[in-house]
């Protein structure tokens, strides 16, 4: 009897604490400062890192600027013309094969694309096993600290976060269903916003998220399209904590489906059936109708189409830029030292991903709102997309890549190989006509 009573008491106290310290302040958008204290402690322990030197073999100064450019090799970026220069003229030489084999081997050791589909390597270890990729040696002292970290993360933080997430999602579903009963009027919109924002804040606390918003004067306006780089489903959460958006996406089953159906009752999101998604024109038409009103909440789109590991921005698909309207770019950059937000969907399903996120130290990110952009005269959708992509890459400090994020799963198009072959052919034949006489 005593055991169950005790358990009941603990649960009761626990829930009251959670309610009082976290839920209520979230509803009012107020912060009690507990998470700030936690973050300060974390920053002191992880960034100063006395153990980073003991754990790593010595490395010379990094050649690249900024994170994510720690290469294994120094790549020879010389174009084909320079790489193939021969002793005389420019006809085919037996040594031409050297250029291609060197390029090939360089790509095998380190290529720009595949590294973007797995988590970024850290400069110094942050006491999570999952990031201990290259650092083999872990001293006993370090192990002790690591064990302490595990206890804190799994026994203290994880239950708290799970509770919060559960409460957040249930409140959201209940709240939006209730609000959905109201007729479409201003009160409904207000309440819907309140429900959205409160539940998002609770969910962000569930991840121990610390978000810095920059340039809030450029927040996406009604009737516009918000465009951002994509790292994980959490991006949505991060953006909606600061304002409401119209979501665009595919209808899912399961828990996601329940959430989607609940959301659309309170506020008009645009969900597509899987079959409809394939029809690009249908998608664009519906989105055009949506923004024509100019009074609807801004549409949120991720033009990369897939999750990239937050070290670079890959090709923006032109579809979102054909709708018209004002584009509001947003750059999101996570700090990987505290927790890796990237969802490697080929390796982890959504549940194990969320568990990993909830057992990290924290999710720390910066969000930069950028001045709105519109398509200029004489610019087609692809050029516009590239312009927006560059702007986001520069703002977020990310590398810009022309490669398609779809390469995560699909094979590269043959057209690129054919282009290389064409360039090479021009080089070996361009210098002269067909040789009718042999030397």
């Amino acid at each position: 009897m005593d055991g169950t009573e005790l358990a009941g008491q603990i649960l009761y106290t626990w829930l009251t604490l959670v309610f009082g310290l976290i839920l209520l302040p979230s509803a009012f958008g107020v912060s009690l400062g507990i998470s700030e204290i936690y973050m300060k402690i974390l920053v002191k322990t992880l960034e100063v890192s006395p153990w980073s030197d003991a754990a790593l073999p010595p490395r010379s100064a990094l050649a690249g600027a900024g994170r994510g450019t720690r290469g294994i090799i120094q790549r020879d970026e010389s174009p084909m013309e320079k790489g193939l220069s021969g002793l005389r003229g420019r006809d085919f030489e037996l040594s031409d094969v050297f250029y291609f084999s060197k390029k090939g081997l360089e790509a095998i050791v380190e290529d720009e694309v595949t590294q973007r589909f797995s988590s970024e390597e850290l400069v110094s270890w942050n006491l999570l096993t999952r990031t201990n990729v290259n650092f083999q040696y872990v001293s006993p002292r370090l192990t002790a600290v690591w064990v302490l970290g595990v206890i804190v993360r799994y026994c203290v933080l994880l239950p708290l976060r799970l509770t919060l997430a559960f409460i957040g999602i249930s409140l959201f579903v209940i709240g939006t269903t209730l609000v959905g009963q109201l007729p479409r009027n201003r009160l409904k919109n207000l309440l819907s916003e309140l429900v959205h924002l409160t539940c998002c804040r609770i969910c962000v606390r569930a991840l121990s998220g610390t978000i810095h918003y920059h340039n809030r004067q450029y927040r996406p306006q009604k009737g516009g399209i918000c465009v951002a780089n994509h790292t994980s489903p959490i991006d949505v959460l991060i953006l909606t904590t600061d304002g409401c958006y119209t979501m665009v996406g595919q209808v899912h089953g399961g828990l996601m489906g329940i959430i989607q159906r609940a959301m659309v009752k309170a506020c008009p999101h645009v969900w597509f059936e899987r079959s409809e998604m394939k029809d690009r024109h249908l998608v664009i038409k519906r989105l055009k109708e949506h923004i024509a009103h100019k009074k609807e909440l801004p549409i949120l789109i991720f033009p990369e189409g897939t999750c990239i590991n937050n070290t670079s921005v890959m090709m923006f698909k032109k579809g979102s830029f054909e709708i018209g309207g004002t584009i509001h770019p947003v750059a999101i950059k996570y700090n990987p030292q505290f927790g890796d937000a990237f969802w490697n969907s080929s390796k982890y399903n959504i549940v194990s991903y969320l568990l990993r996120v909830m057992t990290s130290w924290a999710i720390v990110c910066d969000v930069w709102y950028m001045p709105p952009m519109t398509r200029e005269e004489g610019e087609d959708a692809v050029q516009f997309a590239n312009r927006v992509k560059s702007a986001i890459a520069v703002q977020g400090g990310l590398t810009e890549l022309p490669w398609d994020g779809g390469l995560k799963r699909a094979k590269v198009k043959d057209a690129f190989k054919e282009e290389q072959q064409k360039n090479y052919s021009k080089m070996i034949v361009g210098n002269g006509s067909l040789k009718s006489e042999l030397d």
Binding site: P57, P58, R59, S60, A63, G71, I72, I73, Q74, D76, L87, D91, F92, L94, S95, D96, V97, F98, F100, S101, K102, K103, G104, L105, E106, A107, I108, V109, E110, D111, E112, V113, T114, Q115, S118, T129, N132, V133, N134, Q136, W403, L407, K411, V412, F416, K417, E418, Q420, Q421, K422, Y424, S425, K426, I428, V429, L434, K435, S436, L438, D439
Partner: protein, 221 residues
Amino acid sequence: MGSRASTLLRDEELEEIKKETGSASGFLLHELGEDNYQNSLSHPSTREVSHSQITRLYSRFTSLDKGENGTLSREDFQRIPELAINPLGDRIINAFFPEGEDQVNFRGFMRTLAHFRPIEDNEKSKDVNGPEPLNSRSNKLHFAFRLYDLDKDDKISRDELLQVLRMMVGVNISDEQLGSIADRTIQEADQDGDSAISFTEFVKVLEKVDVEQKMSIRFLH
């Protein structure tokens, strides 16, 4: 720490790899222990494949290994977009796989990569009695020769040259033009009159080419 332990490089494997890929002081790690080894790394003579380089390459190997069985298949290589668009991509991938095999393990991976290590001056005088290092000029040329020699008979025939040329130019050059390019190349190189290029003839044609620079990859740290 969980399943990672089974995929981390064991020290013995590290040793063998270092020996094979041309590091005479590879045994230092074992003999001197971790701390002293770190000190020796800063010594200019130990500019071979270092501990951290091997670890990083192993990390790269495992990230390419989608099947997680410790070996790479041809599909794993073809998943690299920059290699897939390389006109000679298939020949390069083939160079990793020994005769008749479809899987390459990390040692095989490192052996092929070792051909592209830069040749350092001090290495030329080292270990005269040992086997020739994989990244010697001769072995680099051999690597390139094997890219042409499709049937591995130690000769580049006109047909083989044509096939490789076709890979490099795609559909942009006609058969006749390509044929005459091949004929010219063989005529220039062939010395014993068998209308094929042997390895010796290949080396002779390329004797003025800076093989070291064109076939070397500079490793950082």
